[in-house]
């Protein structure tokens, strides 16, 4: 259940990022999560929601872009989507592959609710 640590990191990054936004409310936090990043999206959302309950971030939601596990084969040079845990080229069966995507774990951007906290 390391999703709790990851959710804490999201909240820290979000809080640091909105320091100069005059108390604007956060609507959505967009994440990139690789298929091979070892994160269960539902657990991450559950942990995030539990942690922000009763804080200034309450009401914010996560939007997760799930990034497929892709690898380029060093033998036949094709790009294939790997079956989880099977690190072989889907075209020629070679094990000599390099990962192209699927380990991402990052905050992409934060969407603010403009009607809150901004003096009219």
């Amino acid at each position: 259940m390391h999703e709790m640590s990851v959710a804490q990191n999201i909240i820290e990054i979000v809080k640091e990022s909105i320091v100069h936004e005059g108390g604007a409310k956060v609507r959505t936090v967009r994440l990139k999560v690789g298929e091979f990043a070892g994160i269960v999206p539902e657990s991450l959302e559950f942990c995030f929601n539990s942690l922000i309950d009763g804080t200034s971030l309450q009401g914010a939601s996560l939007s997760i872009d799930y990034i497929p596990l892709l690898a380029r084969c060093n033998t036949c040079n094709t790009l294939s989507r790997l079956e989880y845990g099977f690190f072989v080229c889907r075209t020629c069966g070679s094990r000599d592959i390099r990962m192209v995507s699927g380990t991402e774990l990052q905050v992409v951007d934060i969407e603010l609710a403009d009607d809150m906290g901004i003096p009219s």
Partner: protein, 218 residues
């Protein structure tokens, strides 16, 4: 609607501290191993035999990670080497800041080898760099041949795999070749050892492998 672009890695703080740990260990020429396995695979027993084997040849320190109790650190300290226990109190893995703190308890200038025994868990510890030189995973024969396929991240990121408890093979329906094949399909670069902490088979080659890496961090 306004959008603030962030593009920051979620574990960047952990990675930054891990980098500091790695630099500090390298500065002192300490080779660090992050030892991973499920609970009960034999991490501490293997460590005890490793300590015995290394005694008088190199200076070793151990960081023990457990959810609760300091039983393991006591077992290690009984061998007369420096040992620090990290109790995570529910935490399922070690993080770099815990190691940074624990490193303050060692006189790194006097150490050659540091083994960090992670919390017994094949899932969560895989995501957290501690600043180690290599990850080593233990898979014991009582766990079945399919573990590398079920928990690929930890096997994919490891440099070596130790197949432990091989003395039990006559009593089990277990195919060593299948475990090897599964592990190598996840990570073809894995160095594989077969060990028993009862008969001590395989302990010497494992210790030779460690010794062959000692100069690599300086």
């Amino acid at each position: 609607m306004s959008v603030i672009t962030i593009e920051r890695k979620l574990l960047e703080k952990n990675d930054e501290i891990a980098r500091r740990n790695r630099d500090l260990l390298a500065q002192h020429g300490v080779f660090a191993i992050n030892l991973l396995s499920s609970p009960g695979a034999g991490k501490t027993s293997l460590l005890e035999l490793t300590i015995e084997q290394m005694k008088g040849r190199l200076a070793m320190g151990v960081i023990e990670g457990d959810v609760q109790t300091d039983l393991d650190a006591a077992r290690i300290a009984a061998h007369d080497i420096p040992a620090v226990q990290i109790v995570t109190r529910g935490g399922c893995h070690l993080e770099a800041h815990l190691i940074e703190e624990a490193l303050r308890s060692f006189d790194l200038a006097t150490l050659d080898l540091l083994v960090i025994e992670n919390v017994g868990n094949l899932v969560c510890p895989a995501s957290f760099d501690l600043g180690e030189a290599v990850k080593v995973v233990i898979s014991s024969v009582t766990e079945g041949e399919d573990k590398p396929l079920k928990y690929p991240a930890v096997f994919r990121n490891a440099s070596a795999m130790i197949i432990n408890k091989i003395d039990l093979l006559p009593h089990l329906r277990f195919d060593l070749a299948v475990l090897r094949e599964n592990a190598l399909s996840v990570n073809p670069a894995l160095t594989i050892f077969e060990t028993s902490c009862i008969t001590r088979e395989g302990i010497a080659p494992w210790c030779d492998w460690i010794r062959s890496h000692l100069g690599s961090v300086r």
